[in-house]
């Protein structure tokens, strides 16, 4: 769930836009460089953006019996890296604001910080950390995707707490309130999105191994010498 248009005070909307700008510009520069060197990357990056948008339209079963939607940025961060996701995530947020009325234009900066910057970086960091500790691909994907989801909602809660501090307990009380409403309720959904990530990467390992090797998610298997193993 993104912060709706007009919900943040003007100063906060401007502040979060300024905060998101360096990350989005860095992502834009990476995309411009990539497209200049390989014009065909435009299509692959566009496909990655469309996948992130569509992933957020998949219904996830939740433990309460209802359903919800994944954020979709965790798998993107692992597959395409956080700098590219900062730009693609912002493009997806713009599309969600104008095609689905989710989020908004003046809140685009705040939502970009949560959804396109903090979520992907936390998710990618967790993924790299778990892989660095010697775990396999799937546990690392679970940690990365679940934490990317959770980090997005924790950031949204902190943004709302900053904008609307509690009348008697200030920022700390507001953090507790907004985390309780927007982030704690998200824990089961983050776990479900982590499981979705595991199932996604398991299916990709079976059906799209060359693409995962090209993206650097899997190591290239050594070529089997002619004649095969004895």
């Amino acid at each position: 769930m993104h912060i709706a248009e007009g919900f943040l005070p003007p100063a906060h909307a401007v502040g979060w836009t300024v905060a998101a700008a360096p990350f989005v510009l860095h992502g834009a520069r990476a995309v411009v460089r990539e497209v200049r060197e390989r014009p065909e990357s435009t299509l692959l990056l566009g496909a990655a953006g469309a996948f992130t948008f569509v992933l957020s339209a998949i219904k996830l079963p939740s433990v309460t019996g209802s359903s919800s939607h994944p954020t979709g940025t965790g798998p993107g961060a692992i597959l395409f890296r956080p700098p590219v996701m900062a730009l693609l995530g912002t493009v997806v947020l713009l599309f969600q604001a104008l095609l689905l009325a989710h989020g908004g234009l003046t809140t685009l900066g705040a939502n970009a910080v949560a959804f396109a910057v903090v979520g992907p970086w936390v998710g990618y960091g967790a993924y790299r950390l778990v892989r660095g500790l010697g775990a396999g691909l799937l546990p690392a994907v679970f940690a990365g995707v679940a934490l990317a989801d959770l980090a997005t909602y924790v950031t949204t809660s902190l943004q709302l707490a900053l904008a609307f501090p509690d009348a008697s307990t200030g920022f700390a009380g507001a953090v507790a309130k907004f985390l309780g409403v927007f982030a704690i309720t998200q824990v089961p959904l983050a776990l479900a999105e982590g499981l979705l990530g595991v199932l996604l990467f398991r299916a990709l390992t079976a059906n799209a191994r060359p693409e995962l090797e090209r993206l650097g998610v899997l190591r290239r298997e050594p070529a089997v010498p002619a004649g095969g193993a004895a």
């Binding site: 435009t42 469309a50 996948f51 992933l55 599309f95 095609l99 307990t169 199932l199 990709l204």
Partner: protein
């Protein structure tokens, strides 16, 4: 598969108006929604956006009403959370809770209606060239335009695969549903790569060396529309400040 807001934008009576003119109007309304006092500023902005959308722009009322449901859920939950106070004794309301909640909801509904006016009258493919004129790099707007064109194909694939999974009892239990969702996501991703590869091969065969060049559609600005926008926004600000 189509999206209701996108369909409304293509069918809108304002479809052929200049995107810059519509950005001026909707941007002005969003600015008024944020800056003016909730009473009467937000009420006037929301009214203006709804009347313009349902009147001259001929956006279906059902599309407009359905589109505000999700953001309204966030706005109501967020506003209630903001006016609840937490202290040692438990939960309570802030002294000015009704006014504060009303102000939050007013600003958000007015801003949301103004953005929705833009969204339901301007297709994304008209807005992306406008972004390029605002000095967004061509490579970025091209990636965004490929995203826009591919997402409908992928949404179509998503619906078809999901229907096939449901017909095979793929969503009959939570465990099966989660597994089906994972396979569904993988199928959508591999389809997107396949589509991109085939598009690239087709364009390479036609000699694509630099950007994706398309013939821009001429949508000239209207002086009358711009003048009416400026007069309307000025009147809205003046009335709001006089009443407040």
């Amino acid at each position: 598969m189509s999206l209701a807001i996108d369909d409304a934008a293509w069918a809108s009576a304002w479809r052929r108006r200049s995107p810059a003119d519509k950005l001026l109007l909707c941007g002005g309304l969003v600015g008024c929604a944020l800056v003016l006092p909730a009473w009467p500023g937000s009420v006037l902005v929301a009214l203006a956006a709804v009347v313009l959308a349902l009147g001259p722009a001929r956006v279906p009322a059902r599309t407009f009403a359905r589109a505000v449901r999700w953001p309204l859920a966030f706005v109501v939950v967020g506003a209630l959370t903001a006016v609840v106070t937490v202290d040692g004794g438990g939960l309570g309301w802030t002294p000015d809770a009704p006014a504060r909640a009303g102000s939050l909801v007013g600003h958000a509904v007015a801003g949301g209606a103004a953005v929705l006016l833009l969204a339901t009258t301007t297709p994304m493919s008209d807005l992306l060239p406008a972004l390029q004129r605002l000095r967004v790099p061509a490579a970025v707007t091209e990636v965004a335009s490929v995203t826009y064109r591919l997402l409908f194909l992928l949404l179509d694939g998503l619906r078809t695969i999901r229907e096939a999974q449901a017909a095979r009892m793929g969503h009959s239990s939570t465990r099966r549903s989660l597994r089906s969702s994972g396979v569904l996501a993988a199928a959508v991703l591999t389809r997107s790569w396949d589509r991109a590869r085939r598009l690239q091969e087709g364009l390479a065969g036609r000699g694509m060396e630099t950007g994706l060049r398309v013939l821009p559609e001429a949508l000239p600005s209207s002086r009358r529309f711009v003048a009416a926008t400026l007069a309307g926004l000025t009147g809205l600000v003046a009335v709001s400040l006089a009443v407040a």
